[in-house]
């Protein structure tokens, strides 16, 4: 599919946003500026952005624990995302979600799930609502090779296939469920499992190629919009960082040569080479684009730094539609 220059540069911009956002987050974890646990998308940017940009603005998606990239890929501003990672009141979830539960409904991001596979049914339900309401939207569930072995995926594929739901099941196969090599716990090829449900299945062998991922997802999105039902896409990729930031394992579960070979295939470097070789942009233009992105991340951090932490009373908000008497909160407040 021929894409215009603006779209191609937007792909590079969003990949760079994810890279610099997550590199900054990684540093902030090490400095103790981000509490809790953080999983970066570094190395997987092509797979994230290729899929997100194949979706329309009104389309839905759900994510997983490694999901900073998903809202960024769909166009979320960086400030509220970074503020959420730090737990500030201006965070996209008001400080109640954190790295593991980002959501930005404004861009169709229905939320990450810290429970592996658990958001797949949510995305399936968003597709049901699109179908019943007839609004032409589609929905995409991001999940990893680990989640590919959760039962809810197969319940969802069966339901979506039975009802021709406009949903895309996108498996980000980074080849390891934490330390466990996917091939040791996965029988057969994930993409081929689609055949058992009579739905389309496709494997993108080079998930470091943003255009390959875009094309595969675009085809699935168009199929869904035509009312022809779901698609399972398996994208083979690699995470460049450890499972989570700061995690130190005593075992080298990833072969050094394998890791080196994948690090050579940095999706952002590859796409930059492609853009220059195709005459889409010059090195100078791409340097300027990257500088803009770095400035955006700086601004996001400055926004975060300038933001206050939420008031303790916020812990009792948003559990239900207000006003719902929350007895526990009243007791706590009365006691303090």
């Amino acid at each position: 599919m021929a894409l215009d220059r603006e779209t191609l540069l937007q792909m590079q911009r969003r990949m760079l946003r994810i890279r610099h956002f997550d590199e900054r987050a990684s540093k902030m974890v090490k400095r103790g500026q981000i509490p809790g646990t953080v999983h970066t998308s570094i190395g997987q940017e092509a797979q994230v952005v290729g899929a997100c940009m194949a979706l329309g603005d009104g389309d839905y998606m759900s994510g997983n624990h490694r999901s900073h990239g998903h809202p960024i890929g769909k166009g979320s501003p960086l400030g509220p995302l970074m503020a959420e990672l730090v737990g500030k009141g201006t965070g996209v979830c008001g400080g109640k979600g954190g790295s593991l539960h980002l959501a930005d409904f404004a861009v169709g991001s229905l939320g990450e799930s810290g429970i592996v596979g658990s958001s797949i049914p949510i995305a399936t339900g968003a597709a049901l609502s699109a179908k019943v309401l007839g609004n032409g939207r589609v929905s995409l569930a991001f999940f990893g090779d680990g989640a590919a072995n959760q039962g809810c995926l197969y319940e969802a594929m069966n339901l979506a296939g039975s009802w021709d739901l406009p949903v895309i099941f996108l498996c980000e196969n980074n080849q390891y469920a934490l330390s466990t090599p996917a091939h040791t716990v996965t029988s057969g090829v994930i993409a081929e499992r689609a055949a058992g449900f009579g739905i389309a299945g496709v494997r993108v062998e080079d998930g470091q190629d943003v255009l390959a991922v875009y094309d595969a997802t675009r085809t699935a999105v168009e199929r869904a919009r035509r009312g022809e039902g779901p698609t399972l896409i398996e994208v083979v990729t690699y995470r460049f960082h450890e499972h989570s930031e700061g995690l130190r394992l005593g075992t080298d579960y990833r072969d050094a040569a394998e890791k080196e070979a994948w690090l050579e295939r940095d999706p952002i470097v590859l796409f930059r080479q492609h853009l220059v070789a195709d005459g889409v942009a010059t090195d100078a233009e791409l340097d300027a684009l990257e500088a803009e992105v770095i400035a955006e991340v700086d601004e996001a951090v400055a926004f975060t730094d300038a933001s206050p932490f939420p008031d303790p009373s916020v812990a009792f908000a948003d559990l239900y539609t207000e006003p719902t008497p929350l007895r526990v909160a009243a007791t706590l407040r009365g006691a303090s």
């Binding site: 008001g94 109640k96 229905l110 049914p121 339900g125 019943v132």
Partner: protein, 340 residues
């Protein structure tokens, strides 16, 4: 007004909700064939038509037996513009979808900072007392009371079932309704007009002055029967049906206990960490000074549900068991009355 059964009243509420708002859909196991009489106007399609005929296959959908995706997909649909009513058949099947209930349905509004709205109702029937053994007979509402973010209704009469369900469908919060199969046969006059019963407002099923019986679900008619029997002994028992457990009408319970000074809680769930335990704890914490006797719980003992009628029937709160509990908390009374 019309005489409606418990299930008929639920069906009437579902029909009203489907007619009132096109965003309301019904999904679940066996809903198209109106197996339980809640998705049709009458007992059969021939009678007055069923929902499939009335609303079409886009808005009423049979699901595969896949509780996890049924619950999760209903949640995802609720987050994006639908207002699903989900029929999960029996309450013992809810555990198949526990992750979706606990981690998605209950948490999404909260952890996403209020971005998610969750207007979805999950119906299930507690099929106890009917000799179906351990895999159909659970009364699991206390487990879900322990999950902040869910609302829970336990209607004990046809008119409450209709009015509460209409409210549940209107709410933007997830509601679990636990329908008691022992109540399926109840019939009473129910308004055919639209009406809604608010959550968190209990009902005084019978007024009294000597003891408060807080009764849940099928324990309500048993408690009323117990109170009638106790009347003959000169004991005046007040029966309170909270109707919703989350939110709970604490003020109604505390107000009654303040007058009677005694509390019996009748709860068909298991005794440990049951609804009765929570209600007892609230009263002990907040109305200790009013109590003239220890609180007594009448609940199902902490055993599994056996198949044989000879074994099962004894386990649930009965009118005799509730009356005995009332006599126990009033143990000192005959002596006082005798002027001793």
């Amino acid at each position: 007004m019309a005489v409606m059964s418990y299930l008929g009243a639920i069906g009437a509420a579902q029909r009203e909700a489907m007619e009132a708002d096109e965003r309301v859909v019904i999904i679940g196991e066996d809903v198209e064939a109106n197996v339980y009489g809640t998705t049709g106007a009458g007992k059969s399609r021939k009678d007055k038509g069923d929902f499939l005929e009335m609303f079409g296959s886009n808005r009423i959908r049979n699901t595969p037996i896949s509780e996890e995706v049924i619950v999760g997909a209903a949640a995802g649909a609720a987050m994006t513009g639908l207002r699903p009513i989900v029929d999960l058949s029996y309450s013992s099947f809810l555990y198949m979808a526990m992750d979706q209930f606990v981690n998605q349905v209950a948490k999404n509004r909260y952890m996403f900072g209020g971005q998610a709205s969750m207007p979805v109702v999950f119906r299930s029937a507690m099929f106890y007392g009917l000799n179906t053994g351990a895999h159909h007979s659970d009364r699991p509402y206390p487990m879900f009371m322990n999950v902040p973010g869910l609302k829970i209704m336990v209607p004990a009469s046809p008119s409450d079932a209709k009015g509460l369900l209409r409210t549940a469908v209107d709410l933007d919060d997830p509601v679990l309704t636990f329908e008691a199969c022992p109540l399926w046969g109840l019939k009473e006059e129910v308004s055919e007009e639209e009406y809604r019963i608010p959550f968190g407002v209990g009902r005084v099923a019978r007024e009294g002055s000597d003891v408060t019986i807080v009764a849940i679900s099928s324990a309500v008619p048993e408690s009323v029967a117990a109170a009638e029997a106790l009347q003959a002994e000169g004991i005046s028992a007040e029966v309170i049906d909270p109707r919703t457990l989350v939110p709970l009408d604490v003020d109604l319970i505390l107000g009654s206990v303040a007058r009677t000074g005694r509390l019996v809680v009748a709860d068909p769930a298991h005794r440990t960490c049951g609804a009765a335990a929570e209600i007892s704890a609230i009263v002990a914490e907040e109305a200790f000074d009013s109590l003239r006797a220890p609180i007594v719980r009448v609940a199902t003992p902490d055993t599994q549900i056996p198949f044989s009628p000879a074994l099962e029937k004894q386990l649930y709160p009965s009118r005799d068991g509730i009356a005995a509990a009332v006599r126990r908390v009033l143990g000192a009374r005959p002596l006082i009355d005798a002027g001793v």
